[in-house]
């Protein structure tokens, strides 16, 4: 099995790995499971340590991909990485019984660190920012060319009408916050005391209503006709 390339870690994060003398040669799925589900002792401790190192590596990878993380500063970034790695390690250990071996164990485990690191970064970046829940789609943003605006102006106005008339107040606020103001979904979930899953379902329902209203008004193909 191929050896995983080492990544460059910050001095603080790397210190833990150096102390452990980590090498990134990969064990098989069975070996990982046997070691992590075995009795407490040196083998188990070593396996958990190695798992944590992998979680640090994946969390660091995720944080370094996120441009918004650059504003946090190196010390805060290290905190985020280590916190995400801790949470991911706990998540993986708690879910070993649902790992079905459809992918490499390391790939399965990495996704927990990536999830936690992304959530932690967005939470940190937005910690001092207000999330305004609007009822009206009347905002302008830079980044699109005047030509692009002109081409979609009619559709955009129809979408504004659809938002005002076809969506429920909750759908309207969620759709505008996530899709117009681009508030990250897990930040909004935190603020509203709900989950990413529930907000995505709200969006799904809102988009369906909006598309139906636009189809009725002749701005989008009618799905009932195109399916025939």
């Amino acid at each position: 099995m191929a050896e995983i390339e080492p990544v460059v870690l910050s001095p603080t994060v790397a210190a833990g790995e150096v102390a452990r003398g980590t090498t990134w040669s990969t064990a098989s799925n069975e070996e990982w499971l046997n070691r992590l589900t075995g009795m407490d002792g040196p083998v188990y401790d070593e396996a958990v340590g190695r798992l944590h190192d992998l979680m640090v590596r994946a969390a660091w990878h995720q944080v370094m991909r996120m441009s918004e993380a650059s504003g946090l500063g190196p010390a805060r970034r290290d905190e985020v990485v280590l916190s995400a790695a801790d949470e991911a390690t706990v998540s993986v250990l708690a879910r070993l019984d649902v790992f079905e071996g459809r992918s490499r164990f390391t790939t399965w485990a990495y996704k927990f660190a990536i999830l936690h690191a992304g959530v932690e970064v967005r939470r940190a970046v937005w910690s001092h920012r207000e999330v305004d829940l609007h009822d009206v789609a009347d905002r302008t943003k830079v980044g699109d060319s005047p030509e692009a605006y002109a081409e979609t102006r009619d559709l955009a106005r129809a979408v504004q009408r659809g938002i005002a008339e076809a969506l429920t107040p909750h759908q309207r606020r969620v759709a505008l916050a996530l899709l117009v103001d681009e508030v990250p979904i897990d930040v909004l979930a935190d603020r509203l005391g709900t989950t990413r899953n529930a907000l995505y379902k709200t969006l799904h329902d809102a988009r369906k209503r909006l598309r139906a209203a636009l189809a009725e008004a002749g701005y989008l193909p009618d799905p009932r006709r195109s399916n025939k």
Binding site: R65, S103, G118, T140, A148, A175, R196, N197
Partner: protein, 95 residues
């Protein structure tokens, strides 16, 4: 009172994105490792539900791209190649 201004083209695209066939964020996460590894390691096509979800959910999409680039060296790819493989799977699946 100021005159309401148009939504950006990007916002319009996001607002009217098709999200059928349905896949929840939780289901996406449950299978993310399998789907991404299949694409990176074997160039597999992607289930249409994942294509739709990853094209409509920016956070899940970012997690998929991150995982693909992280595991790329294990499968003999560099991160750019892995990112391209994922983009190709998404583009092919949405046609």
């Amino acid at each position: 009172m100021t005159e309401p201004t148009d939504l950006t083209p990007g916002a319009v695209r996001r607002l009217i994105a098709v999200t059928d066939p349905w896949l929840s964020c939780d289901d996406c996460f449950d299978f993310l490792d399998t789907v991404v590894e299949d694409v990176v390691a074997r160039g597999a096509t992607m289930d249409p539900r994942f294509v739709v979800h990853l094209n409509a959910c920016s956070v899940c999409s970012e997690e998929a791209a991150s995982l693909a680039t992280l595991i790329a060296p294990e499968h003999g790819l560099d991160p750019v190649q892995a990112q391209r493989a994922l983009e190709l799977a998404l583009a092919t699946g949405s046609q």
